[in-house]
């Protein structure tokens, strides 16, 4: 049955493997098992994938129920092409370590920038004081 052609109805996506990007930046990969009218998702055999540079690591998470408003985008994963990627999979510990290092570097850079601006008498309001959107 062709559900609602020409629309973004998720019904045709059920039982397929999807990559879901959440508003908080997490990337989840799992089988979409159920939806509802708010696009709340039920993901099965979910894996949270952390990307750092050219490496990535998968953390198995089980079953996820995602509230629809927190989804930025989602897309079906082609199972054949899934393994065809230039990225390199590493262990969880390693990727978490990489992520930590990346966060650290970002913070340092940010700090330097803020300091430099301060020296010049300028200030940029920090993101967390602004509205999240």
């Amino acid at each position: 049955m062709n559900y609602m052609p020409g629309t973004a109805s998720l019904i045709e996506d059920i039982d397929k493997k999807h990559l879901v990007l959440l508003r908080d930046g997490r990337t989840l990969i799992g089988f979409l098992r159920s939806i509802d009218q708010f696009a709340n998702l039920v993901l099965h055999q979910t894996v949270e994938r952390i990307h750092v540079g050219k490496k990535y690591g998968d953390i198995p998470r089980g079953i996820f129920v995602v509230r629809g408003e927190n989804v930025v985008l989602l897309g079906e994963i082609d199972l054949e092409k899934e393994s065809d990627t230039p990225l390199q999979q590493v262990s969880i510990e390693e990727i978490l370590e990489e992520q930590r290092a990346e966060q650290q570097a970002k913070l340092e850079a940010e700090k330097l920038k803020v300091q430099a601006l301060k020296d010049r008498g300028l200030s940029i309001p920090r993101a967390d004081t602004l509205d999240e959107y």
Partner: protein, 782 residues
């Protein structure tokens, strides 16, 4: 026999003595007893059913008639009602044809059940269930005899009196904060976001009936002949000789309870082959139908949940019936077997906690067995899960044990909601981009079809229902006879928080900055207003086509009026006759959106109005160019301007050129430098506009034989000055024009001699090659 820990006293347990007597009989636990640890334990509670049978004689005849009256309709509704007692309804429905048997009549209890309003579930979401009801009704009528056997096995509740209401209200959906009385429109019985009702299992603590599962061996059914001689299941059913329970058509070696995986798998299998509903399939189906039911039976016989389906045979009867109905109209009733299965499946897991009432050891063993079967099953299907090639992709889907967790019915339900959201009275207004996109696609495909003779690609199109607009005026509820005004606020009538008052401040108080900011805000505001007008005007064509004959003049007038308004907005309305300063317009043109808007408005303006706009633009072009440095939107104006130019008379074109190049008026001596012109020439838009103007002038000149001879042609005069200026231009980079008219050479050849023509040509050629940072050959001095 095994002992139970009764959770709470059962005040309705009439035959307490009998129960206790039974409990005390056997102290030993027989671990290998099928009744205890196998299918018997979970599936069926013959003891309690037996008890029920014993109680029958003591029952007073209850008023069954009114129940059976509307039982027909409601009992079918397994899906919609959330307070139903499926088992009882079904049984009641069954019974209505068995009036000759007083025992059965008496067996049925009257239970006041809260009936939802007949109209409350009219929402189209529930249409499926409506349809479903019709199917099952007549079919079920045939299966009375078989089902009625189970009457004895069904939990019988003696009249409960006040407890009924409590019970039912606990089962009802919680009252939402918007009560139907105060403030809001009537609440639907089922709020729109509610998923399809799966038979709710209220918490066990709320059950007042005796929790003890009791095994019941229903009597061998001599009095109820096999109803379907031609179908397999009843044969199986009645054929199993030692079937202590009618609910076990298969040998105990089959796992009594299918895991959700197995069930889903079978479900998937069953659903994938809707057309092959043969008795052989029925044979398979009851197999798994039976087991989840079997799982439910202990619950059933404990009398806990009234909403449970009757044990397997009755249900099988149910089950066999719809499938024959589905193949003929497969499209209309896709959720034929689905809801049943879904109910079963949904109920089965819920009854897992049932085992808490079993003896702990018993429970453990049961779980162990279930785990084993689950693992076995998983091992079988685990292989096909990973890494599919295209060919095995389908296999992957088929082998996916978790597939179809979301049932067809649920998918239909969601898609119904989505379709409802698409209902609109004016799709062009509500869903503009979608409509436009599909129109474009269709035009494309139509065009392709015209060209090629390929087969037409069937593009499935979504047909959105168009509904008539219903005006809902919401009137907040008012109380009569109340002292003072009672404010009742709800979602439709929110309470006013703050009265925001707009105060305009005087000019003196503000600083210059604020004034500037306010001015910009005002300009933005004007742009927005004008944009709305523009969108309306653009829409008139479509409305014109859709409207009736008599409405059309009115439409045209409206359109004209709006166009005038737009123009006034652009130029700045002033009471004075004289055209106001350019300032207003320039302000609009400084804003990116304003420029694009002007480009869109131009086609609608009259020639004079448009010419005026063009003039103003030309006059202020350097300023605008400077302001456009970041946006680079001016080129969008080129095409409407060129279009306009073709309608302008020569005089206008001449004066336009003057403005554009800021040529000295009359016989005044040319200024030493012409920054206006240089800015214009350095901008892509400016240069292109200039060239277009020149080209137009040339066209006019050459096309009009009369003016050719006359030397006092304003155009000619201007051209002389223009060429002089052009030659005078210092060595600066010229922009690359958007398009170069072809007749420029002939244009200039009129006015300059050979040498200068060469120079101009070189300039032009270099422009053509797109070398923007050209250095002109050399300035030519006259």
């Amino acid at each position: 026999m095994f002992r139970y820990e009764s959770l709470e006293d059962c005040p309705l347990d009439e035959d307490e003595d009998a129960f206790q007597g039974l409990g005390e009989e056997d102290e030993e636990i027989d671990q290998f007893n099928d009744d205890t640890f196998g299918s018997g334990a979970v599936d069926d509670d013959w003891q309690e059913a037996h008890e029920r049978l014993a109680e029958l004689e003591e029952k007073l005849p209850s008023a069954v008639n009114e129940q059976t009256g509307n039982g027909e309709r409601d009992e079918m509704d397994l899906l919609g009602d959330h307070e139903e007692n499926l088992a009882e309804r079904l049984s009641k429905m069954v019974i209505e044809n068995e009036l000759e048997d007083p025992a059965i009549m008496r067996a049925v209890q009257t239970r006041p059940v809260l009936q939802p309003q007949p109209g409350s579930l009219n929402s189209s979401i529930w249409d499926g269930s409506e349809v479903l009801r019709r199917i099952r009704g007549p079919l079920l009528a045939q299966e009375m005899p078989t089902v009625s056997v189970l009457e004895y096995a069904l939990p019988q509740r003696p009249p409960q009196g006040p407890e009924d209401d409590r019970d039912l209200s606990e089962r009802a959906l919680p009252r939402r904060s918007t009560s139907p009385v105060i403030g809001s429109p009537p609440v639907r019985a089922v709020p729109i976001g509610t998923p399809p009702k799966q038979v709710a299992v209220p918490s066990f603590n709320q059950q007042v009936l005796c929790p003890k599962p009791v095994h019941v061996r229903p009597p061998v059914p001599p009095r109820f002949p096999a109803p379907y001689g031609e179908r397999a299941p009843p044969d199986q059913l009645c054929g199993v000789p030692n079937s202590s329970l009618l609910g076990h058509p298969f040998p105990p070696s089959v796992p009594p309870v299918l895991s959700p995986l197995q069930r889903a798998q079978l479900l998937g299998g069953a659903q994938l082959q809707p057309g092959r509903m043969s008795p052989s399939q029925f044979a398979r189906v009851p197999g798994f139908v039976g087991s989840p039911l079997a799982a439910m039976n202990p619950k059933l016989l404990q009398g806990r949940v009234r909403q449970m389906l009757p044990p397997a045979p009755g249900f099988r009867a149910f089950f066999s019936a719809p499938p024959p109905a589905t193949p003929p109209p497969p499209q209309q009733h896709p959720p034929g077997p689905g809801p049943h299965l879904q109910n079963l499946r949904s109920q089965a897991p819920m009854f897992r906690p049932d085992t808490t009432h079993l003896h702990p050891q018993h429970r453990r063993l049961l779980h162990q067995r279930q785990q084993q079967s689950r693992n076995q099953h998983r091992n079988l299907n685990g292989a096909g899960d990973r890494g599919g090639h295209r060919s095995s992709h389908q296999d992957h889907i088929r082998k996916d044990p978790y597939a179809n967790l979301m049932l067809q019915r649920e998918k239909d339900w969601v898609s119904k909601i989505q379709m409802m959201q698409l209902q609109s009275t004016d799709p062009y207004l509500d869903d503009f981009y979608y409509q436009n996109y599909f129109e474009k696609l269709e035009k494309l495909s139509a065009a392709e079809e015209v060209q090629g003779d390929g087969p037409k690609k069937e593009r499935t199109k979504l047909i959105t229902p168009q509904v008539a607009k219903l005006e809902h005026t919401y009137k907040p509820v008012q109380f009569e006879g109340s002292l003072g005004k009672l404010t009742v606020s709800s979602v439709n009538n929110p309470r006013k928080m703050i009265d925001a008052v707009v105060t305009s401040r005087s000019e003196d108080d503000e600083t210059k900055e604020k004034q500037v900011r306010d001015k910009r805000r005002k300009t933005l505001f004007i742009i927005e207003k004008t944009y709305s007008l523009l969108l309306d005007v653009e829409d008139y064509e479509r409305r014109y086509l859709l409207s009736l004959e008599d409405e059309r003049p009115a439409l045209m007038d409206e359109r004209k009026h709006k166009i005038c308004c737009m123009y006034d907005n652009l130029r700045g309305k002033l009471p004075g006759q004289e055209r106001p300063s350019d300032d207003h317009f320039v302000q609009i043109m400084c804003i990116r959106k304003g420029k694009r808007m002007v480009a869109r408005i131009l086609p609608f303006l009259s020639t004079e109005q448009a010419a005026d706009i063009l003039m103003t633009t030309a006059r202020n072009l350097p300023f605008l160019i400077k302001k456009d440095a970041q946006d680079e939107v001016l080129p969008c104006l080129l095409s409407p301007f060129s279009l306009l130019l073709y309608h302008l008379p020569p005089v206008t074109v001449a004066s336009l050129l003057q403005q554009l190049m800021s040529l000295p008026q009359g016989t005044a001596a040319p200024a030493p430098s012409n920054p206006h012109l240089s800015t214009v020439l350095q901008s892509k838009f400016g240069l292109s506009l200039l060239l277009v103007v020149l080209s137009r002038g040339e066209d006019l000149q050459s096309s009009d034989p009369a003016s050719e001879s006359a030397q006092s042609n304003p155009w000619t005069e201007v051209m002389f000055v223009a060429t002089r200026e052009l030659l005078r231009i210092p060595q600066t980079g010229l922009a690359k024009p958007i398009s170069i008219p072809t007749n420029l050479v002939s244009l200039f050849s009129r006015y300059v001699d050979r040498q200068k023509l060469n120079l101009l040509e070189t300039k032009l050629q270099k422009e053509e090659k797109g070398e923007s940072m050209d250095i002109l050959v050399q300035p030519c001095s006259e």
